[in-house]
């Protein structure tokens, strides 16, 4: 497998073969990220296409601080957020006042057998505003303050959206596990 530094240098020099090598190497992983932030495969495809164009055209700004994969992942996430903002900004509905569901506790071993494909489909089925907040908080590790800034919402909205997302995901997991139990038992 060609050295990453060499591929990057080729991409910087405009070598289309190196650009394709870079795409082939990371497209599957970044498509997974893109799917987590999208409601459909078509949407994820658009996000990934836009993100790779940004990666190629702004490669010279990557100065080697942090991992290259992390840099690309941030570009994919930001591209997805951009699309989300453009799409949902006008129809933004604050969820202030939403009360957290009281969620039952679940043993860790009960959910340990979940497949990543199932988890992905649960996230993709979430309403976009819940999906974005859950991904940014639970998967990327941003704080509610940061998420509020990124999505142009209030911190309270971010918290309530997270709570709602968790609640929906919990139900989906329970239903999924219940079906599995019935199938096994």
């Amino acid at each position: 497998m060609p050295d990453l530094r060499k591929i990057l240098r080729g991409c910087l020099a405009g070598n289309k073969r190196d650009q394709e090598l870079l795409y082939r190497r990371y497209s599957a992983k970044l498509y997974g990220v893109s799917l987590q932030y999208s409601g459909s495969h078509d949407e994820a495809r658009d996000v990934l296409q836009e993100a790779f164009i940004k990666i190629f055209t702004s490669l010279h700004t990557f100065n080697g601080d942090g991992s290259f994969e992390g840099w690309m992942r941030r570009i994919v996430v930001n591209t997805a957020l951009e699309k989300h903002r453009n799409r949902y900004y006008l129809n933004k509905v604050d969820e202030l006042g939403f009360e957290n569901d009281t969620m039952p506790e679940l043993e860790a071993d009960e959910i340990s057998g979940m497949e990543s494909e199932d988890l992905l489909s649960f996230i993709m089925e979430l309403p976009p505003k819940y999906r974005m907040v859950f991904n940014l908080y639970a998967l990327e590790g941003y704080s509610h303050k940061e998420i509020a800034n990124m999505l142009s919402i209030s911190e309270g909205t971010s918290k309530s959206n997270l709570s709602r997302a968790r609640s929906i995901l919990q139900k989906k997991v329970e239903i999924h596990l219940g079906i599995k139990k019935r199938m096994n038992g």
């Binding site: 240098r9 080729g10 910087l12 992983k29 987590q36 969620m103 919990q170």
Partner: protein
Amino acid sequence: MVKYDSHIDVLFREGLRDMETLPPESLWEDIQPVMRRRKNKGIFFRIAAGMAILISIGAMAYYAGNMLNVDNGPNITVADNSLSTLFDASYLNIEVESGIDINQGEDINPAITDNDIEEIGLDNSELNPDPIINKEKIDLVYDEPRNNILRLNDTPREVTARRNPSIVLVSEILPVEPVKNNANIKRWQLGAMVSPTYLSNNLNSTNEALNQINDNENAILSYSGGFSLRYRMSKRLSVQTGLYYSSLGREIEGVTSYSGFGPYASSKSGTIFGVETSSGTINSTNNDIYLADQSANRIDSYYSVDNFDPVKSNLIPFGNQLRQSFEYLEIPLILRYKLIDRKLDFNILGGMSYNFLIGNYTWAMNSEGSKVLLGSTEGVDHLLLSSSLGMSMEYEVSERFSLNLEPHFRYFLNTGGDLGSGNPYTFGIFSGMNFRF
């Protein structure tokens, strides 16, 4: 026991951490055209911006030129006793109210003194009409001046001898500047110029990979030359275009070339080696040449022979350098402003140019100066937009011929390559000669 709400975060974080899903195969094919479109769109906007700037500058220059070329001044009535006043009346239409009957041969200019001569200028108090007497009007007509010295001793006899005594030749009574006849001004100028040219490196970045490429590339002295056509819009302002040929290039260090690779060379695409450079990727299609990188890992090989060992094969070392050459045809639009108007003129100039790529070659070089063509550089822009700034010293050899020396700085508004991050520039000192007509 873990709280369910945080547990579900962990469940999804861990479950999706290394998830990979292959995107649709067609996605890669869609990325390239979009990148090309965006690049072309960027070039289009730059060209449009360049055109707008040029048109604006041209319009302003034309307007300024018209302002400077005042052909018809105000009509001024001059009292007869101020005829002796010296002023540059060549641009004014003067109507004289004369208090003297010149038909009677009286001295039209009896009162001219040294004091009068000192009263030079367009002081309104002197130009106001004197409402006195005899309102006979004399039209002043300019002829070719015979001298610029006031002829204090001239008598009106010279004037009255004319067929129409009411017409007075201004040159006979006033020391006028030579009348400028626009029809005789040589406004066009054809020139031929050549220049050695220095081309800067393409890349400008703190990126380590780019610096590694830059460190192994040297600008080489190239040359430019061509013909210029200049139109003089006013005494100081002129606009210039032309057609220039530029050969720009770089030397790539540390790439060793060997001949005798022919028996092993086989590639589906026709490209045997790809060499990364700051301008793009050199595609070597010369089957006979094997390339190896001595200082950095810049070479991709595309030959389809498995397990080729260059050490065991009979390759013959050729050279240690590659040379890229880019040939452009340049069409400039330059404005020139004359700061010093003497026998040795001094001008400043600035404008924009379109540069069309007409040649793209890469050679393997050896120390004896021999070269072998390898192929071309992929990803080089076919149209470059550049801005120019310079100065010009022009020495008039004769009325029609002049020699000039012009240091030029040219900054390219495109990066030159697909993803080059720095805009290249050139510096050259043009010299040549011009012919006015």
